[in-house]
């Protein structure tokens, strides 16, 4: 099934998605990977009060309510008017954020996480509890995906974290992804792993 989704995404839209569905996503999304997740957890989530990076926190609360995080470290260029462009922007491996993602979903009201390779049991549970999904982008389709990034709206923490690890706020149009973990507890990755491990036993 093919779905067109626009950010902010409603709970109803999420519940209608099932593993295997193709989605074309449009709207404002935020990139966040290893260093960004560590920052969110340490400065915004596991604290009694947000005292540092309050501007970033306010912006993230706005963008991520019903919003989407994209696990991506892009190649970017800057034109002579100082505007940023995404040159290559495929997904990075998501499992590294497994220790953090459930809390990020809960705290910000995130509806979708885009990445590569899927995530684990904590995140699947959070997807069920808070109505979110994992969307798989094609690993290495970097130039193609960069084409669907129509505008780089903002960037946070670029000097501190470096270009690949910064929070990039981007406007995407018809970004193609596949649902591989849905809000009903189904994960394509868990199924594939079970099958391949059984096949391995018969080969060794």
């Amino acid at each position: 099934m093919l779905h067109k989704l626009t950010v902010p995404i409603s709970e109803e839209a999420i519940v209608a998605l099932h593993v295997g569905d193709q989605v074309y996503l449009s709207g404002l999304i935020v990139t966040a990977r290893d260093a960004a997740h560590k920052l969110m957890i340490e400065k915004f989530i596991r604290v009694p009060q947000v005292l540092e990076q309050t501007d970033l926190y306010a912006r993230l609360k706005e963008l991520l309510a019903g919003g989407v995080i994209y696990h991506c470290g892009p190649v970017v260029s800057q034109d002579d008017r100082g505007r940023w462009h995404f040159v290559a922007a495929g997904p990075t491996t998501s499992i590294r954020e497994e220790p953090y993602e459930a809390e990020v979903i809960e705290h910000f009201g995130l509806r979708a996480v885009i990445g590569k390779g899927g995530m684990g049991p904590k995140t699947i549970q959070a997807c069920q509890d808070h109505k979110a999904v994992y969307l798989h982008a094609i690993g290495g389709a970097a130039s193609l995906i960069a084409d669907s990034v129509k505008e780089v709206v903002d960037v946070y923490q670029k000097d501190e974290l470096g270009v690949p690890e910064a929070f990039w706020v981007i406007r995407v149009e018809d970004f193609p992804v596949v649902v591989t973990m849905d809000s009903h507890g189904v994960s394509l990755h868990a199924e594939i792993k079970q099958r391949s491990t059984a096949a391995l036993q018969s080969l060794i």
Binding site: A88, T93, A142, I204
Partner: protein
């Protein structure tokens, strides 16, 4: 003969490696696409990959945003200065980064700071080999982080996998490595295997396998047989492109051996993603060619 400044040519080598996939890999991906079931997620993934390869080549943009560790193998005739070569390659790396052919990827492990220009401690990775040919050859591979993370090194015997110190043991642990990797190395991948060495030498030799043309044959008959068998069996795991399930999990397996200590029997399986970016530059009699 005065040693020339080849910095600009090195930038072109990097650009080619990053944006223009070699035909042996592209052909293998096309064949894999045709083998998948019509309308399957696996086929759709490969269609996307092939379209991306075409777009990257046409626009001179990176095939993958993780341009990885640039690994240079430089074969030079007697009399060339490796200090000059090192300087030129490093400058070319910084220039290629400024031109967005490479993502700034050198992060200080102590401070977390990205150097911004891909230059750092042992970054890029340079290997110099003097040889008796009258020309300069530079092999470059871009080894991405996602696939690097799913490489694995085993000590044999390995009880869990029933692997003894023989080629069947090698087969068992390499299949295990492919299974553990699932789709995380951006399958369908290429597996580079080294048997022997100390831990470091074993990893290095396993990654050198990625310079071999995909459709080549091993010089050693038992290793050719092993390569073919592991490729076939890895594909029976059914992990498929991007781990979506499918017929092609591995495009090829390349195995080499090196001497080892009696006490150690390491089998190293390095994983190269489908974006197997490697290119060669030759400088001979004042002429430059790229392969």
């Amino acid at each position: 003969m005065e040693q020339p400044d080849l910095t600009d040519q090195f930038v072109e080598l990097i650009r080619l490696a990053s944006t223009d996939l070699r035909s042996d890999v592209e052909d293998a991906l096309r064949a894999a696409r045709d083998r998948e079931e019509e309308g399957s997620a696996a086929q759709a993934a490969l269609d996307t990959i092939l379209e991306n390869i075409r777009l990257a080549r046409a626009n001179s943009t990176p095939i993958c945003q993780d341009t990885g560790t640039p690994i240079f193998y430089i074969y030079f005739p007697p009399g060339w200065s490796t200090l000059k070569l090192r300087h030129q390659v490093r400058e070319a790396t910084a220039t290629a980064t400024a031109k967005s052919y490479l993502r700034p990827n050198a992060v200080d492990s102590l401070t977390g700071r990205n150097s911004g220009n891909n230059l750092g401690d042992d970054f890029p990775s340079l290997h110099f080999h003097e040889w008796e040919e009258p020309y300069l050859k530079v092999d470059l591979m871009l080894k991405g982080g996602g696939c690097e993370n799913v490489g694995a090194q085993y000590k044999l015997p390995n009880v869990t996998l029933g692997a003894g110190r023989d080629l069947d043991g090698v087969r068992r642990v390499v299949l295990d490595a492919v299974n553990q990797a699932q789709g995380l190395g951006c399958a369908p991948g290429i597996i580079g295997v080294a048997v022997g060495g100390d831990r470091g030498a074993s990893y290095i030799r396993s990654k050198e396998q990625f310079f071999r043309p995909l459709d080549d044959q091993n010089d050693v008959p038992e290793l050719t047989e092993l390569e073919e068998r592991i490729t076939q069996e890895a594909n029976q795991l059914g992990i498929g492109p991007m781990g979506f399930g499918g017929k092609t999990t591995v495009l090829g397996v390349k195995v080499d051996t090196l001497h080892r200590l009696p006490a150690s029997y390491f089998v190293t399986a390095s994983y190269m993603c489908w974006a197997d970016r490697r290119r060669t530059m030759i400088f001979c009699d004042g002429e430059i060619t790229f392969e």
